[in-house]
């Protein structure tokens, strides 16, 4: 029966492509597991910033070393994923990449106090920042989610630096996060993951404002800042 034969071919072809996809997913999963483990390690290393001012520099150095390793992992991932299929398999590395964006931007902020641009973060991971028809890149949405994670972490840092007696950092954080907040307001977000994460930003902003407020009514703000505020 010719009809039956065609149907059989349709299904056997499909099964073949399913099998290949499964195999590929397995490979991707394994790479992602390793790379993800490194990100957890970096997260742990960077936790020291909340209770030990002196060790921040050291933690950043350590994080930088681990980023190198992570970028090797991303290199493997880049090879494993067919260049046209980035968005087909994106779910495997999506959350991991968001965490890396957070960790990298945090490290750069701790080092220099500036916002790490999209292409800088991508280059630390050893991948492209530009979305093209083909190729592995850093999705802009993942980068933005990473920045939102950064804001949450900084709001915690603001509280902890006050506890430590550092009254300058909350102001620096406040300025930085405010700027990011203003930036995020420029985006037209639809009802997706990024939007939900953005909606949580206001709580971080509020927390930082409260810290700055507490400091200012008690006259605890650093001298330079105080005089400009009064002027």
């Amino acid at each position: 029966m010719s009809g039956n034969h065609v149907v059989n071919t349709i299904f056997s072809d499909f099964q073949k492509s399913l099998d290949e996809e499964q195999e590929l997913r397995e490979v991707i999963r394994n790479i992602c597991k390793d790379v993800d483990q490194i990100s957890r390690k970096i997260t742990t290393v960077l936790q020291v910033i909340h209770h030990n001012q002196a060790e921040i520099g050291q933690a950043c150095l350590q994080a930088r070393e681990l980023f190198e390793k992570a970028s090797e992992g991303y290199g493997k991932l880049k090879e494993a994923v067919p260049s046209t299929d980035y968005y087909k398999y994106q779910d495997h590395w999506r959350f991991m990449t968001q965490r890396y964006c957070f960790l990298i931007s945090l490290t750069i902020w701790l080092e220099k106090g500036i916002l790490a641009p999209h292409d800088t973060v991508a280059s630390v991971l050893g991948i492209s920042a530009v979305e093209e028809k083909e190729g592995f890149h850093l999705d802009i949405e993942d980068y933005l989610v990473g920045l939102l994670h950064l804001c949450s972490e900084l709001s915690r840092l603001a509280v902890n630096s006050v506890t430590r007696g550092d009254y300058e950092k909350p102001l620096q954080i406040s300025k930085f996060v405010m700027e990011l907040n203003a930036g995020f307001r420029l985006l037209n977000l639809k009802n997706d993951h990024l939007r939900k994460r953005f909606d949580a930003l206001k709580y971080d902003v509020k927390k930082i404002e409260e810290v700055v407020y507490d400091l200012s009514i008690r006259g605890l703000l650093p001298k330079a800042q105080q005089s400009t505020e009064e002027a």
């Binding site: 010719s2 009809g3 039956n4 065609v6 149907v7 059989n8 071919t9 349709i10 299904f11 072809d13 499909f14 099964q15 492509s17 399913l18 099998d19 499964q22 046209t84 299929d85 980035y86 968005y87 087909k88 916002l115 641009p117 999209h118 979305e131 093209e132 028809k133 083909e134 802009i140 949405e141 933005l144 406040s174 300025k175 405010m178 700027e179 990011l180 203003a182 930036g183 995020f184 420029l186 985006l187 037209n188 977000l189 639809k190 902003v205 404002e209 409260e210 700055v212 407020y213 200012s216 009514i217 008690r218 006259g219 505020e229 009064e230």
Partner: protein, 279 residues
């Protein structure tokens, strides 16, 4: 108590400091042209582009869905063999119009965009198109057109001023298979319709195709979520079509074709619960 006094003075000086003031000051102190804001403006452009494109694709996909449903309806409407031939001819023309119209537009829209980024926007339309396309090919030549054949139809040569380039609208194999799963529903309807028009041969053929397809789906593993969801509908379709064929065999000799149908209302009620067709 000098400490207290100092505190008071301080407090007076800062009597204007409220929580909202803190926020306002921080907001005002932002430079309008800071690199951070510039970066976000850039990001906003990228995100807007993506969203607009997505909306355009959803619209195209909806157009394809509507026209495909109409084509399927047209194919069902033919009762006699001559009418069927005419319907197939018209359906073919309309399908071609779809391939050269909205489906080509999808390909052009996504020419420089990573594949799969917007696959969710177009999947519904493409599935419906596959349903119509395979149904048409089945009625025309009793053979289901394969995925690679349809994919070949989705290749377009665009002539520029000097050069030619090829644009392909990506049809994922999963979309194709999802469309085929819907096809079983159409075949089931066709089988039942052909009983009422007295063409038992067509009915048996449709029934056999539904069975073959169902057998194929049973053999798949790791088929993915959406396909697994369609399996129960497919199973119902097989049950319905087999019941119809059974009725035809058992009572076929003794009753006029129309009498074989009363069982239908019962199926119809189930049908509306899980099958997406309304015709």
């Amino acid at each position: 108590m000098s400490g207290r006094g100092k505190y008071r003075v301080n407090r007076q000086k800062h009597s204007q400091t409220t929580l909202s003031n803190v926020a306002k000051e921080a907001a005002i102190s932002l430079p309008a042209d800071s690199p951070v804001l510039a970066m976000f403006k850039d990001a906003a452009l990228k995100l807007n582009d993506r969203q607009d494109r997505h909306e355009r694709l959803v619209k195209l996909s909806r157009d394809i869905t509507i026209e495909s449903k109409r084509i399927i309806f047209l194919l069902h409407s033919a009762i006699t063999e001559e009418a069927a031939e005419k319907a197939v001819k018209e359906a073919k023309e309309r399908l071609e119009k779809l391939t050269k119209g909205p489906i080509k537009s999808i390909g052009l829209e996504l020419e420089n965009i990573p594949a799969y980024l917007h696959s969710r926007a177009v999947t519904a339309g493409l599935q419906e198109f596959i349903e119509a396309r395979t149904f048409c090919s089945l009625m025309e030549s009793k053979v289901i057109i394969t995925w690679s054949e349809v994919q070949k139809e989705f290749q377009y040569v665009i002539k520029g001023d000097e050069d030619e380039r090829v644009v392909v609208t990506l049809l994922t194999q999963t979309d194709y298979m999802l469309g085929i799963a819907d096809l079983t529903g159409e075949l089931m309807r066709k089988a039942i319709n052909s009983i009422s028009s007295g063409e038992s041969q067509a009915c048996f053929h449709a029934c056999q195709v539904v069975r073959d397809l169902y057998t194929g789906y049973l053999g798949l593993f790791c088929m993915g979520k959406e396909l697994a969801r369609k399996m129960s509908t497919t199973r119902n379709n097989v049950a319905k079509v087999e019941a119809a064929v059974y009725a035809l065999r058992v009572r076929g000799g003794e009753a006029p074709p129309l009498l074989l149908l009363p069982v239908k209302p019962e199926w119809e009620t189930i049908e509306h619960s899980d099958d997406e067709g309304f015709y």
